[in-house]
Amino acid sequence: MKERDMDEILKQAAQTSESVNPELLDRIAASMGPSLPPVRPLPPSWAMEGGLFAIAVAIALVGAAKAGFFGFLKLSVLDRMIIFPVLGILIFLAASEWVSENIPGSRRRLTPGAVLAVSFFVMLAIFGILFRNYQTNHFLSAGLACLGIGLLHAIPTAFLGWLILRRGYAVNSVAAGLVGGTLAGLAGVTMLELHCPNFQALHILIWHIAVVPVSAAAGAFLAWALASRSTSHSSHLRRS
């Protein structure tokens, strides 16, 4: 059977489908009320993406300015020229995907999971190449401190990002939470690269990079919890 014949069969099948009850359509139209207030459309995507990018960079810079730019000063010019543009590109990618997740029917470059995976492996490759000191001093205590600092900077980034996107509508809230968490985690890593003077490879490869997946998982979990709460709340309201 040819594809054209199958198309024809599907079209015929669709035509035989039952039509919508006109009373239902009238009920839906009536539910809109006698007047319809105009709404302001969302700002352009580039403006929201730019806003998210600016927030992530600003929080990393402010955090490092308060704690000291020790890491930045210790890095060679070549290291700086590689690390920070790459982090900038990853932040832009995550910001762009977070905006897309909050506008139904948007064009996608990558899925949220792919943004997280790309960020993780790109950082792993770059840091693995640039940092070759395999000593481990105060591995756990210094590592946990850096993880904590990174996550502390991820929290305000995620919150301010949510403020920018609060008028959006996420069709998949867990995916939106995941990519939002990834962006916030990248802001945390950027702050750590500016601040942390500990250049031991394992410290950076494990504890600095861990900020991103931990933050992404926290974002996804938070979004899932909020969505479940609002779903059960709305079904409870409907029942009562």
Binding site: E3, D5, T16, S17, S19, V39, I103, P104, G168, Y169
Partner: protein
């Protein structure tokens, strides 16, 4: 849609009249139940109303609408699976079976035709072949890549071809499906 955003009630009504049959068919194909489709359609317009500011004038409207429709379908699936998890089946349900059998006869032909396909292939084929959306529009509505849409459509069509061949169905015979 842009006029609906600006508060034009007539535009909103005409959008409801124009789009509801398509969205209703989308829900019927996914659930094979008119009752569910009616509920979902109402829920759909409530959400469209709340989220109407997220539509961007000048952008294609179908991906925006179907992305919301998919979201409602997923929510409904989660809720109904939670409910059915707590349900305890009766030992004997002769009356229910009779009612189900009667309902089967009322099922529109399109959902019978697409029933054996997995959900993801069913929705892609409905959007592409029944609603006439482009690959780009389906990719936007399903938050996936064009390649993934092509793959799902191809696999769905292969399964559909097998089913149609098995039924010995040709053009003009759709109404005779079981």
């Amino acid at each position: 849609m842009a006029r609906y955003q600006q508060g034009d009630l007539a535009a909103a009504n005409s959008l409801i009249q124009c789009m509801s049959p398509r969205l209703h068919r989308f829900f019927v194909v996914q659930y094979s139940s008119r009752e569910h489709a009616d509920d979902l359609l109402q829920e759909m317009w409530l959400r469209i109303h709340k989220a109407r500011h997220t539509y961007r004038p000048g952008e294609p409207v179908l991906p925006w609408l179907y992305a919301i429709a998919r979201n409602i379908r997923v929510d409904h699936y989660r809720k109904s699976s939670r409910t059915t998890d707590h349900e305890q089946p009766l030992d004997e349900t002769p009356e229910v079976e009779t009612a189900a059998a009667e309902e089967m006869e009322l099922i529109p032909n399109l959902d019978v035709l697409l029933a054996p396909l997995p959900e993801s292939q069913r929705e892609v084929i409905t959007m592409l072949k029944v609603e006439g959306m482009s690959l780009e529009e389906v990719a936007r509505a399903t938050s996936s890549s064009i390649g993934s849409v092509k793959q799902k459509a191809h696999r769905g069509y292969e399964k559909l071809r097998e089913r149609l061949t098995m039924l010995g169905l040709g053009k003009g015979q759709v109404g005779e499906l079981p």
